[in-house]
């Protein structure tokens, strides 16, 4: 698959929002840039044919996460800012740049995007799920089938992680809102 205008502009938008979130000095502005970033990336999930993930990201990233950040900011007082952007520290940029170069060096060995013979898409596991999901679980949506049936134990673990996050926050803030 080649790069279309829609995907190219989405990627540029997302990268600009991420840069803004990283470099804007005012924390509130940074949070808003991060919300825009989440919205952009949820549209990327739709373009990549992942509606389940897009739905979750739109509700979580642009909705819940932003509100949580804003609430946390309302509970703290950030000092006034004197400039729009943070000053860039070149020592860290060099370190991160080295990291990015090392990661980028692995790109040529990755399969091309959308290649039907790539290990993940054409692999045995994916083909098994797609061929047998409906027969074995009577569920049309293969994502739900894998989530609740094939990897059900894993999902139970994830659900309990979410539950314990609530418990941890209760004990950290020593607050009885469930009274």
């Amino acid at each position: 698959m080649s790069l279309t205008l829609l995907e190219g502009s989405l990627l540029v938008f997302v990268l600009c929002c991420a840069l803004g979130a990283a470099l804007l000095k005012d924390t509130m502005a940074s949070v808003i840039a991060f919300a825009a970033y989440s919205l952009g990336i949820s549209i990327i999930w739709l373009v990549l044919q992942a509606p389940d993930v897009g739905l979750t990201e739109a509700a979580v990233g642009a909705g819940i996460m932003t509100i949580l950040f804003l609430i946390a900011l309302a509970n703290t007082v950030t000092p006034d800012v004197d400039s729009l952007f943070e000053s860039v520290r070149w020592r860290t940029v060099a370190l991160v740049g080295a990291f990015v170069l090392v990661m980028a060096a692995t790109i040529p060995s990755l399969p091309a995007i959308g290649d039907p013979t790539a290990p993940v898409v054409g692999g045995e596991v994916t083909q098994y799920y797609l061929a047998n999901a409906y027969k074995e679980t009577q569920v049309h949506n293969a994502v739900t089938a894998v989530l609740a049936a094939y990897r059900g134990f894993d999902t139970l673990g994830e659900a309990v992680v979410v539950f314990s996050a609530g418990v941890v926050a209760l004990s950290v803030l020593r607050r009885e809102v469930f009274a």
Partner: protein, 155 residues
């Protein structure tokens, strides 16, 4: 809408209140649709749960956090979170009790038609309950801040 909100957190606005009053029922219906129709269309417990959570945040945004917390009765939220975990683990362990393996849905077949599909739906509802109530609970917690007692949120 009460006058004794924490200062700075809540500003009453007619536009926001009216919009939320119109939009919230539709968003809640959409969230429940997503949660119940995870089997045959994109959606499921995680997706529906986070949308349900954001409905409550929207209400709190419009009508004030403390009033929303009192209106909602947070005991229901706590019960939903624990109930979700119990439903999920109960269905998984129930399959073992009936001689199958963990979450092996087809052992429920003698008891219900299309056991596998409805077992998965029930698990998704459990997940939805956990995710929605934990999101709501975390929101109320962070809004309340660290343990000084204001008297407002106390019953």
């Amino acid at each position: 809408m009460s006058a004794d909100e924490a200062p700075g957190l809540y500003v009453e606005s007619t536009i926001i209140m009216t919009t939320v009053r119109v939009v919230a029922p539709f968003v809640l219906t959409f969230a429940l649709f997503i949660m119940f129709h995870g089997a045959d269309s994109p959606g499921g417990g995680f997706q529906g749960g986070v949308i349900t959570g954001s409905v409550v945040m929207m209400l709190a945004f419009a009508f004030g956090i403390d009033s929303t917390r009192q209106w909602l009765d947070v005991r229901i939220v706590a019960a939903l979170a624990s109930g979700g975990v119990l439903v999920f683990a109960g269905i998984g362990l129930g399959a073992i009790a009936l001689g199958g393996q963990f979450l092996q849905y087809n052992v429920y077949k003698p008891y219900y038609y299309e056991a596998s599909k409805y077992g998965i739906e029930l698990v998704e509802l459990g997940i939805g309950g956990i995710v929605a109530s934990v999101a709501i609970g975390l929101f109320f917690l962070l809004a309340a801040g660290f343990g000084y007692v204001t008297g407002e949120g106390e019953r």
